[in-house]
Symmetry: C2
Subunit: 338 residues, 2 copies
Amino acid sequence: MADAAAHQHEKTRWPKDAVGNRMTANVPVARAEDTINEVRTTLRKAQEFETINYVYVLDGHEKLIGILSIKDIFRQPERRKVGEVCKKTSLVTIHPEADQERAAYLALKNNLKALPVVDRDHHFLGVLPSDVILHILYKEAHEDALHRIGIHHRGVHHERALDNVLDIPLFQSIEHRVPWLGLGLLGGLFVAQIVGAFGRTLEQNLLLAGYIPLIIYMSGAVGMQTATFVVRDLAIGEGIPWRRYFGKQCLATLFIALLFGVGLFLLTWVLHRRLDVAAVLSFSLIAAVSSSIVSGFFLPFLFQKHGVDPANATGPMGTIVQDVLGIVIYFSIASLLL
Amino acid sequence: MADAAAHQHEKTRWPKDAVGNRMTANVPVARAEDTINEVRTTLRKAQEFETINYVYVLDGHEKLIGILSIKDIFRQPERRKVGEVCKKTSLVTIHPEADQERAAYLALKNNLKALPVVDRDHHFLGVLPSDVILHILYKEAHEDALHRIGIHHRGVHHERALDNVLDIPLFQSIEHRVPWLGLGLLGGLFVAQIVGAFGRTLEQNLLLAGYIPLIIYMSGAVGMQTATFVVRDLAIGEGIPWRRYFGKQCLATLFIALLFGVGLFLLTWVLHRRLDVAAVLSFSLIAAVSSSIVSGFFLPFLFQKHGVDPANATGPMGTIVQDVLGIVIYFSIASLLL
């Protein structure tokens, strides 16, 4: 039996959300030439391991060469060699510098109870146990949900993530909610000045005012749909052909834009009997919805590139960017065509 | 050793998202008077169990009286009685008719790798294994994220939940996105008619048009914040004093409404030098944000009561309801005061 801890690198070496920070080396390991009986003895005598779902089989260089399930330890004959019965092919492993969220998806996809961590040379470093994987998945989902409503929780809130709202003091919960709402207020003021700049167009076609929410809502909603998928796929990431992905999202967005553009044209034509207004509304919707590829696709990538959680794109930032874009497009088209 | 399967009730008896549908009875059980050695023999001979993290200890009536960890099975002396070493107090269990999401939170909160399922009389029915708990948590988080963007996935999409967008045919992904966007379009048309009904007020105060996005955005954002917490807490639920919870959310909403109402008053007064307009905007914002308790609190409860997933309140339905409310409030106040 080898001491996996010997290979555990220092905690500080990994990036903030890396797998390396959450793994434990406190798991049973064995050599290929050990017998099942020797493994049983170790499990019996050893200190309290973090998890014993699997025994990890290492070679002389501490490289992971196989995995032995606890079920096999019970079932296999005492004298059988570990190397003969352990699973050696298609082992699912993860690197310590990988993102925790990716590890959770990997465990999920492969129905694994624990995930072994190895370095680039396949040296065994430790394991992500099932309860840690569960916590990672919950934390990521919870963080994404909070980002969506513009709450970026720090220390306190984070640890209390599982507690209900009643446990957080009133003013602390207000304090969490206010900053991004404040940005929303400023964004709204900015939009109001843009609309104000198109005062003449609006004055001559008062009808346009009522359709502001529709244009904003539709482009924001389509952008949010795209962003939700892009954010998730950026997290699972690795190996996604992003050009093709981008092409597909553009096609879907364009198709949706055209579909609803034509629909709005027919509905508003019937409603107002003005061909010019119906055309402006229809063109604006098509352009605004098409522009949602900005908040839906480019914004998450921009955030990712600058080390900001891409999930922010599904929150107030994304909405504000898309609102401003939608309004500018709407009134530009209106003042050109009317 | 007893046969836990004997107590497994029929699958069809539980509600759709109930724990009973996901549990397995295929786990090792023991009697209090069994020795550790007997348990080891069973583990060795028995069919392939789904999970052997724990051995469940039952009395003569098949009631769960204790839990033995796999670590204890290795560590304890051969002749020791199971009843002497198993954990008997503060066992965390769940009922088969409970919601799966609640089970996942329970496992999360107690750092459990598997969750035993018992009926009202404490008869042992089975276990939720760690990989199932992981899948439940992922499914719920994923569903909530999809509800937020108005996608209600049925069969196909659900099984592919882990695949990336590229694997889903273009028209299928558009088909998923269109229905709720269509509802949004109709909602937007409805809002436009409301604004149209206030044509006179708008004509005399063109300035108001530009602030439509601000009022809508702010009341929608605050409502969404509240709804996100309420939806989660409804899921974890049980034992939350909802009256007090409601009071706290109302207080927080009111405080936020007043804070930004005053802020908007000052900013627009400076910007436009018109006291009446600043007052209307400020009152409207306060009233609209206060009204967000409707989409944030009442809507999730309404959905829950009628068997609809409360997470819908954080999606297009919530936004549309809150948009209409905000617009009606805004122009009602404007036509009254100007």
